[in-house]
Symmetry: C2
């Protein structure tokens, strides 16, 4: 489309700073005939402290009117754990049915990995985003007593598993190596595990060119640090995906460069793009945050909206920028954003 | 006690080979006046294929009569995923109330880590062993149809959490650094998360010398590869413990040297000690398996039974053996066992 109507949620901590650079690069990369309209939303800790609200029905209605959402980070130590996560981040993912949580891991030239041997890392995790133990099912009885019992229910449906597995197969099919790994723990979580495994094997029949493997989540963490090059596309459940994508980010250059998309492929609701890192309150407001993960999230956003060449231009600019970092003094958030804006425009 | 009545479960794959070396070292380290009696049990894939049984009530009665259990590995590709895990390994942990799953991670001199910078790694994970999503609660409806729903229920009780948290605090208190980290995901799994966090904070009051921290499981995987030296003792739930201990093993020398104890501190039932690695059917019967993890599990077993000096002798022997490996040709399972037996005897 020749216009982008973008909802922008800077959020808390470094969110403000990195989103400003993301928007700077976005404006720079778009051709003149693509009209960019942005509307900023003040969600997060400040709003919560002022109004007690995290994300209202009216907020969702307002967000819904946009083509996509760019988010910086939500979370602050002044807010009790869980309030903004369940009340904002997860509420948004569930309300807009963001069932494909896309998290690419690519070790770019010039980027340091904690792993010896500089392995070639280039894979994508397709994390389910609307089921598993993230649904909020469960409860507590006899709270605060020595007889307290707390449960968490992981909910998995054939409908929910199949659509994300199919998405992952399609992505694997489109990549040169055409490999897809299912990560679960089907030897212990046998109910959910059988559902995931059976659906995976069924959908695999439609993609005969894709090479598949199954791996337990515990074994996967070993491979992620000893043989990360073996992975191409990974599909996994919401919680396992949460865990392994942080590990994947750590081995492929750190969360400073890890981007993600919370995608609703149907287009019924806007998809949301955000860096994997959090609000990092310890360095907020100091111009120290690396906006690269946000800029890469903008690339995912553009690709999702069909602006493939602009997405690729951003990714190339980031690669070039990272490749030249070694040995140079650290730059501020704005300096990195400026440099990337120049590169994508040039 | 001056006698050890040991149940031995070699199990599948390399289990047979590594357990033989574990017993060799055990016999060599024990003083003459400690009588060692062993009884071998034929559990695992062969028994399952022959009789359909994994672990019967009569088996549990027989095992119960022992002071401790040494296990090699259980699992074979010929058995459907979950059958031996749920039917034997987990059944045993639950039947004998093995609620403290102890998994030390120590990077020993001469041992290769996949991490740059050769960080100092020396921590212990205390993984809860009888609750969480491992209870088998959950189920499936409309199995095999497009309307299938599968659930897994994580069950957490104040009783179960408090006893393992208390055990972890006591272990932290006894170590020089006196640090304890709680790992959970209390911002998403808020029911279980609040229980864990509240119990942890309450028990902390009894251990004022122990420095505590809380970490989300996803963030913990990052620290395990970027700053593993920060950890001293970790306490966590059954599933998170499963995942992070494989990662911990990977960064601290691999599962070839990772030992574990499934401990019932009350002594009402025998505790069980086993290497973290599995049955590795691909290298079984070739004399290639490294028995070190099993030998270190024997050390945990001896410490549990009060034979501290023998446990330490085994650990010293393993350290010395590992330190001399670099640049030498690979040895067979038996050769490594022989070398360790000589060292502990000498
Ligand atoms: C903040 C939290 C709710 C979130 C998650 O668990 O999904 C985060 O860890 C992530 O990975 O996006
Ligand atoms: C084999 C499996 C049941 C087991 C577990 O998940 O606990 C294993 O992974 C372990 O860590 O001991």
């Amino acid at each position: 489309s020749r216009s982008i109507n973008l909802a922008v949620i800077p959020g808390d901590g470094i969110g403000q700073e990195v989103v400003a650079e993301g928007l700077k690069v976005l404006s720079a990369v778009l051709p003149q005939d693509v009209k960019l309209e942005t509307k900023e939303f003040d969600f997060g800790a400040r709003r919560y402290h002022t109004t007690g609200e995290t994300l209202t029905d009216a907020d969702l209605d307002a967000l819904k009117k946009h083509d996509a959402i760019l988010l910086g980070a939500i979370g602050d130590p002044s807010v009790p754990s869980g309030v903004l996560e369940r009340g904002f981040l997860l509420k948004l993912r569930f309300a807009f049915d963001h069932h494909v949580n896309l998290r690419p891991s690519k070790l770019l030239p010039g980027v340091e990995t904690p792993l010896k041997g500089e392995p070639e890392i280039d894979f994508v995790v397709v994390r389910e985003g609307t089921e598993g133990p993230y649904t909020g099912n469960g409860g507590t009885i006899r709270k605060g007593t020595e007889h307290e019992v707390a449960t968490e229910v992981s909910v998995n449906t054939a409908f929910g598993v199949e659509r994300v597995v199919r998405d992952a197969f399609a992505r694997a099919q489109a990549r040169p190596r055409k490999k897809l790994a299912l990560i679960h723990k089907n030897n212990v979580l046998t109910f959910a595990g059988h559902l995931w495994t059976n659906v995976f094997n069924k959908v695999a029949e439609e993609f005969p060119e894709v090479t598949t493997e199954y791996m337990h989540v515990d074994a996967a963490t070993i491979y992620l640090v000893t043989q990360p090059q073996r992975f191409d596309v990974i599909v996994t459940d919401n919680l396992f995906g949460d865990i392994i994508t942080d590990l994947a980010a750590a081995v492929s250059g750190g969360i400073g460069v890890a981007a993600s998309g919370n995608i609703n492929p149907s287009g019924d609701f806007p998809s949301m793009f955000e860096p994997v890192h959090g609000s990092a309150p310890d360095i907020a407001g100091q111009g120290k945050a690396d906006p690269t993960a946000t800029v890469l999230s903008v690339a995912l956003l553009l690709r999702h909206l069909g602006h493939e060449s602009e997405a690729a231009r951003i990714e190339d600019a980031v690669s070039a920028d990272l490749a030249e970092r070694t040995g140079k003094p650290a730059r501020s958030t704005t300096e990195i954003g400026d440099a990337l804006a120049v590169r994508v425009a040039g």
